[in-house]
Amino acid sequence: MKAKLVAALLAVVGGGALAGIALLRNEPINSLWIVTAAACIYVLGYRFYAKWIETRVYVIDRSRATPAERLSNGRDFVPTQRWVLFGHHFAAIAGAGPLVGPTLAMQFGYLPGTLWLLVGAVLGGCVQDMTVLFISTRRNGKSLGQMARDELGPLGGTAAMLGTLMIVVIVIAVLGLVVVNAMKHSPWATFTVMMTIPIALLVGLYMRVWRPGKVLEGSIIGLALLLFAVVAGGWVANDPVWGPRFNFEGVSLAWLVIAYGWVAAILPVWVLLAPRDYISTFLKISVVLLLVLAVVAIHPEIRMPALTRFTDGTGPLFAGKVFPFVFITIACGALSGFHALVSSGTTPKMVSNEGDIRLAGYGSMAVESLVGIMAVIAATLLDPGVYFAINSGAGVVGAAAADAVHTISGWGFPVTVDQMQQLAKSVGESSLFARTGGAPSLAVGMASIFGSAFGRGLLAVWYHFAIMFEAIFILTTVDAGTRACRFLLQDGLGQVVKPLGRTSWYPSVLIASSLVVAAWGYFLYVGVIDPNGGINILWPLFGIANQMLAAIALSVCTGVLIKSGKFRYAWVTALPLAWISIVTSTAALQKIFSPDAKLGFFAGADALAGQLAAGSLPAARAAVAPTLIFNQRLDGWLTVLFLLLMWIVIAEMLRIAWRHLAGKPVPATSEAPRVATRLDAVLRGAP
């Protein structure tokens, strides 16, 4: 009775807030509406939908021993207290993605992105993460690729593996581009981000040599040093001698990131990778808490309109209409295939009871969606003119400040050169025009939130703190992703040339690492030399790849549900699958076949080739044109491949489902047999 009352209250408050967001037009709304609607929707989703799925669809068994108990080895298979499991899983899924995607999607106005974050998470992303975690826990913590092979057969399995390898490459490239664009011509940001390397080395030594395994101590020391590096960056940037030494062009920074990625991938993990990941986990949890508190405390007004004129597909950040591109642009935060890799990675080996899967799988994703909502608020509290001036590439609005403000003001988003200079000065930068990639505008938004909450005098420090915050995740993705890809590739190469499969054989390490770094380094380099900012091409490609992986994961989930005799409940994952496959296919087909040079990859390549042949390009652009033309065609073919991989897996799932329903033989379930748990419920901290 009490539960029903609370639910009714939540539904009324959440529904009212949502209606307010959707219906209040022509007057600015307060961000508190959005936060309220989000909180109510997550709680309702978690309390009722997830609970229903857990009891009726999965039919979880609290008396069944999990792999963490049965295979317990005190190392990776460790029964873990439920809130620790939640924290661990959240830290693993949350990165720069939910911050960058929603920021970019705000070119359509705040409404489409916000609705997709809420609905996509509650009905799609959270369900995907939780279901993958559940089926992997039932299968001794197997990875998504293995489960695809076991449950759908070798074709589906190979497609899933290939998809995984490619998406990691694209993720590293696009996030690398975000961090390069944030550091470009910014000595303060460059110094601070570079300092994360010696700090990580020091913390690595601390945890290895001086105080082995003392992760918390090391992290706190690292965090203190990082905060100092943020402040020190200001001194360095203002120094007449040292400032210019940290002022780099985009291309130089791209090479530095590439070199860094290569070195980090071949070094032992304790040197650089592990310590930075520890610091970043610590930072992530504290900043997310701080951000939510600050937003609730100052609840800024949203200045961006609900919908902008760019829903028609002419947006300056990236081309394409609001359908399907808002669903491609926002992956992390709503529905992200990448999470399926994490949910079938370390987390299922730590679940101590099936009753904890809802909190870790569904709950963590709901919090990640909330992080996306925070990014929405940070982007939309800026004047829309400022938002577009920061995020539009020079090739779109003009390289000169006067041209840019003229174009943007002409769209109906007034902004002045003076206003932009004032803003740049207040955050300690020389210019904020054409800082594409989403990180700088997010940092301006975050700085203004933190500045209002904890003191405006420190705006420049907060800005660079936000940049460092994003960069530290991204660099962790760069080296951890390169390493993970290296192992995947070594595994694949080992099938062909035996010794290359030996993961610690140095020639194999060097070859595989170099191949992986060359792959993402290529996309990063092309993105940096692209006068339109690069993000406009790379982010949609990343979105399509990520949603393709989501479709693969949801196919595996749907196949498993049907095979285990739950056909009538299979819509739980089949509906998000249907939606995301429609969205991804529409976006992919538009990127392949659109005759619009801004939207279609091949059309863009052809248009540029035409201009090059006619000699109508300025010398600087003509020099990079052949690379850009090749790259757009390559991106086009990659999109074709992603589309094929996705439909192969979906078709395999449908085939297996049809065979199962028709009573024909299908691959046997790989579920581990039931063993009764012997863990004490009190000891594991269950409610």
Binding site: D76, V342, T346
Partner: protein, 66 residues
């Protein structure tokens, strides 16, 4: 007053143990506890070796997101 102090202490120690769990600070203690119950006669790894092996194994797969 004493009850309040007790409450605050409990919240703080709960928060600390949560943080230690999430960051992996208590991994070695968990390992020792595991070894004590499941293989009491085997000699467990030293803290240094354990931490070393732990890192190697953790970073072999995709365990972080974008």
């Amino acid at each position: 007053m004493a009850a309040a102090a007790y409450g605050v202490r409990r919240i703080l120690s709960g928060g600390l143990s949560l943080l230690r769990g999430v960051t992996g600070d208590d991994a070695y203690e968990k390992y020792l506890a595991h070894m004590r119950t499941s293989a009491p006669r085997a000699t467990p790894l030293g803290e240094r070796e354990f931490f070393r092996a732990q890192l190697e194994q953790k970073w072999r797969c995709v365990n972080g997101c974008c």
